[in-house]
């Protein structure tokens, strides 16, 4: 039809298709069905939006490249996901080629709203294929779609599919193989009130920003509803002249009282409404459907809570207990590997580097995998069935108290097990500031690595060999409560100061319940695990080796006990250097060593104390270690581990950012070192201040 339909299918460079659609339209299932395992998953540089590129073949065997863009409701971006979609389609991103052609995937059972995004995309003047997914669900909902009529009306291929049942994939591939994709017949009248502005902006975008005429018009229309609130790194800014024209029109409209954005949106919906009246036949209303009936229980004021508590307990228990078996298995394998190397290699520094540095470090990375996999299995199930949105719906009111929304609930809950999967799960939070706030406070939730520290301190806190169960439980609950209140308190504070933004929204679709797709979930889990290993794992490994080095060098004379070795190592010296800072909260340099080595993982504190105080078998049980701790003294003879110090130490571990692995993941998820560093400062700062108050007050009261 026009010059823009020229297609490179069959030529040397494979054509680039973009897959675009609303969330919950089955886009990923379709993408997976076409590309199989030929996918590359990464990140758009500078933002944590998943970049998925896959490859498939045309019917003639020529390669076709597909970019699976994030799900979006509109090109007027409100989240980083939507901003990436917009910028890739408009060719604003330098790191991604502008797609030649676009496949719009629609949920056929929810056509009107799905067509809104399509309507915006047709403005772009690129060849488009419509894939009407979930045709079976539409039929079940009593909707008949006249596909041939829609094809005729728009003048572009319309493919009915059921991606979940593998239907329509062949037809879609056939359409994608066409060399002569037509442009859509997409004549709609821009409302008179804003038409002159659109032409003026389009002219400037063409002249000053160098856009092709059609996409200049599309961008001009977009500017009216998208004030570029979500700027993401990696996209090119607009020419100042274009911005100036837009501002002057805005001023004029404000004076006249013209609702420019509203007018534009309604004129699009008017066009969609009239199209739907011709292609959509609504049969008799079938009454409440399955989803409505499920929701009557799941969001019920009483049953809803029971279901939520039940599912969350299951999630929590699985991460906590089920993950233990593979984690123990990994620990045992790693230990066995270390022993094998020890027996196979001559004694020396190289052997220690391999066993205590590298192998232990690999173990420290791998041990996170079971929890990450289990959490993402659950998240995958909850997302794909549609329950995730219901959980957010139920929890929203509570989360809104601290300025967050319901989406933050699952990441925070998961952080009780381990902050790493919790932080990785924050990608479901759309709003950037809400997401960042959740990431910042997630490590305050008491994770399972703090448990050994709490247990050791509780055993040293109470006189007598056996800790009364009630005391143990009471202190534990106190620590968990302290962390939880801390997390919510800081979330409240951050949302009011540092990350102040628009009032939080809860505009969210509650998609119909669907059966989960095992293959999609498995693929998602594998992607997450691989992403963790590749990006965070390498750094965590490096840090583990550095920490090992710090405690192994410089060497003590041969035959010196391990405690002497540690005392005179770099870590030991650092402990001494740290003492002036931690003396006001009741800790000496030996505890300081523990604080440093436990940066690798909090539970390392326990084994370090075992080495420092020369307690054999400390790993097996806390009893002998407890004895050694109680014997420890300051140089002036005062006991070191008084009950007050034990309590202070626990409080320190509640708040302090004692986990390098978490920091690496935060860096990865926020795309900068700024936020993890801030996290260290505010968390460890808070820990010190709270401990100072507790210790000094306790001291004055004579404890």
């Amino acid at each position: 039809m026009s010059a823009e339909t020229k297609s490179p299918v069959g030529t040397r460079t494979p054509p680039v298709y973009a897959f675009v659609g609303n969330p919950n339209c089955g886009k990923s299932t379709l993408f997976n069905a076409l590309t199989g395992l030929k996918q590359k998953v990464g990140n758009y540089p500078g933002v944590t939006v998943e970049k998925k590129i896959g490859e498939t073949y045309s019917q003639h065997g020529h390669p076709i490249k597909i970019i699976d863009l994030p799900g979006a409701y509109s090109l007027a971006a409100r989240s980083p996901d939507e901003a990436v979609l917009r910028d890739v389609l408009l060719g604003r991103r330098e790191d991604t080629p502008q797609p030649d052609r676009i496949v719009c995937i629609l949920d056929a059972s929810n056509l009107e709203r799905n067509l809104y995004l399509v309507h915006q995309i047709l403005d772009l003047g690129r060849p488009v294929i419509l894939a009407l997914n979930m045709m079976d669900l539409a039929a079940k909902a009593g909707l008949e779609i006249r596909v041939a009529r829609l094809e005729k009306e728009l003048g572009i291929p319309v493919i009915p599919c059921e991606a979940a049942n593998g239907k329509g994939i062949v037809e879609l591939r056939l359409a994608m193989s066409r060399t002569d994709l037509p442009l859509a017949r997409h004549a709609w009248d821009v409302p008179a009130a804003i038409a002159p502005a659109v032409s003026e902006l389009a002219a400037s975008l063409h002249e000053n920003d160098g856009k092709a005429p059609l996409s200049a018009r599309a961008e001009a229309l977009l500017l009216l509803t998208d004030q570029d609130t979500v700027r993401v790194t990696g996209s090119k800014p607009l020419h100042p002249r274009t911005c100036e024209i837009f501002r002057s029109w805005q001023k004029r409209w404000e004076g006249e009282g013209t609702d420019w954005a509203g007018t534009l949106v309604s004129s699009r919906y008017d066009a969609i409404g009239s199209l739907c009246s011709r292609i959509l036949v609504r049969k008799t209303n079938l009454g409440p459907n399955v989803s409505d009936r499920i929701d009557q229980v799941v969001t019920h004021p009483v049953w809803g809570w029971l279901v939520l508590v039940g599912i969350m307990s299951l999630l929590f228990l699985s991460i906590f207990t089920l993950a233990e078996y593979p984690m123990n298995f990994i620990d045992a394998r790693i230990a066995a590997l270390g022993d094998w190397v020890k027996s196979a290699m001559p004694q020396g520094d190289l052997r220690n580097l391999i066993t205590d540095g590298a192998i232990a470090g690999v173990g420290g990375v791998l041990v996170f995998l079971p929890q990450i996999l289990i959490l993402f299995l659950f998240i995958g199930l909850l997302e794909s069935t549609g329950y995730m949105a219901r959980a957010a719906f139920i929890m929203d009111r509570l989360m809104s108290r601290v300025g967050l929304n319901g989406r933050s609930f699952i990441p925070l809950l998961s952080s009780y097990a381990c902050a790493i999967p919790g932080i990785m799960a924050t990608r479901t939070i759309e709003d950037r500031k809400d997401r960042l706030t959740t990431i910042l406070v997630a490590p305050l939730m008491s994770c399972s690595a703090r448990l050994p520290v709490y247990l050791l301190m509780i055993s040293a806190l109470v006189p007598g060999e056996r800790v009364p169960l009630l005391t143990k439980a009471g202190v534990m609950v106190l620590m968990y409560a302290l962390g939880t209140f801390g997390a919510f308190g800081f979330a409240w504070l951050f949302k009011r100061t540092l990350l102040k933004g628009e009032p939080p929204l809860m505009i969210m679709e509650l998609p119909p319940y669907r059966l989960p797709r095992v293959r999609d979930i498995a693929q998602h889990m594998a992607e997450r695990a691989w992403m963790f290993l590749k990006n965070a794992g390498t750094v965590i490994l490096a840090i583990s080796i550095v920490l090992w080095f710090l405690s192994a060098y410089p060497k003590a004379p041969d035959g010196a006990p391990p405690s002497q070795q540690l005392a005179q190592s770099f870590a030991g010296r650092a402990g001494h250097a740290l003492e002036p800072a931690i003396k006001p909260i009741g800790f000496d340099w030996q505890i300081g060593i523990g604080l440093i080595t436990s940066l690798a993982a909090r539970e390392v504190f326990v084994s370090t104390m075992g080495v420092v105080f020369n307690s054999e078998g400390a790993d097996e049980s806390t009893t002998p270690l407890r004895q050694s701790l109680l014997k420890a003294k300051w140089p002036d003879g005062r006991p070191l581990f008084t009950p007050l110090v034990c309590l202070t130490l626990m409080i320190f571990y509640v708040f302090a950012m004692q986990c390098m692995s978490t920091l690496v993941v935060v860096k990865r998820e926020t795309a900068s070192w700024r936020w993890p560093l801030f996290q260290v400062a505010y968390m460890t700062g808070t820990a010190w201040v709270v401990c100072f108050i507790v210790y000094q007050t306790g001291h004055l009261l004579g404890f």
């Binding site: 409701y73 509109s74 007027a76 409100r78 059972s109 929810n110 056509l111 009107e112 709203r113 809104y116 909902a141 509803t225 609130t229 609702d259 954005a261 509203g262 949106v265 309604s266 919906y269 989803s291 409505d292 929701d295 969001t299 019920h300 004021p301 809803g304 809570w305 949105a389 719906f393 139920i394 929203d396 009111r397 509570l398 809104s400 628009e502 009032p503 929204l505 809860m506 505009i507 969210m508 679709e509 509650l510 998609p511």
Partner: protein, 83 residues
């Protein structure tokens, strides 16, 4: 014809027609893009167990929004007595 009332004060189960809709604010622009605007019919499906947010059915799908937004949207109930 019944009088205008706030969407946030509608009885659960009521069908209603949107009459007045705020012009400003990114939340309302997004709601428009999701298909909620003057002239749209909706049904208030339920409120969350703690009373907020609301769930409405609009253009054949279910959408949630908080009361803080819903109280700016004026609607006219089309069947005052819920079915």
């Amino acid at each position: 014809m019944s009088a205008l009332q706030k969407l946030s004060e509608l009885t659960v189960g009521t069908h209603a027609l949107v009459r007045e809709f705020p012009k400003q604010g990114s939340a309302f622009l997004r709601l428009r893009e999701m298909g909620l605007m003057p002239g749209t019919t909706l049904t208030l499906v339920r409120t969350a167990p703690l009373g907020d947010p609301l769930e409405i059915k609009v253009r054949g799908y279910n959408l949630t929004l908080r009361k803080s937004e819903a109280e700016h949207i004026l609607v006219e109930a089309t069947n005052p007595s819920p079915p």
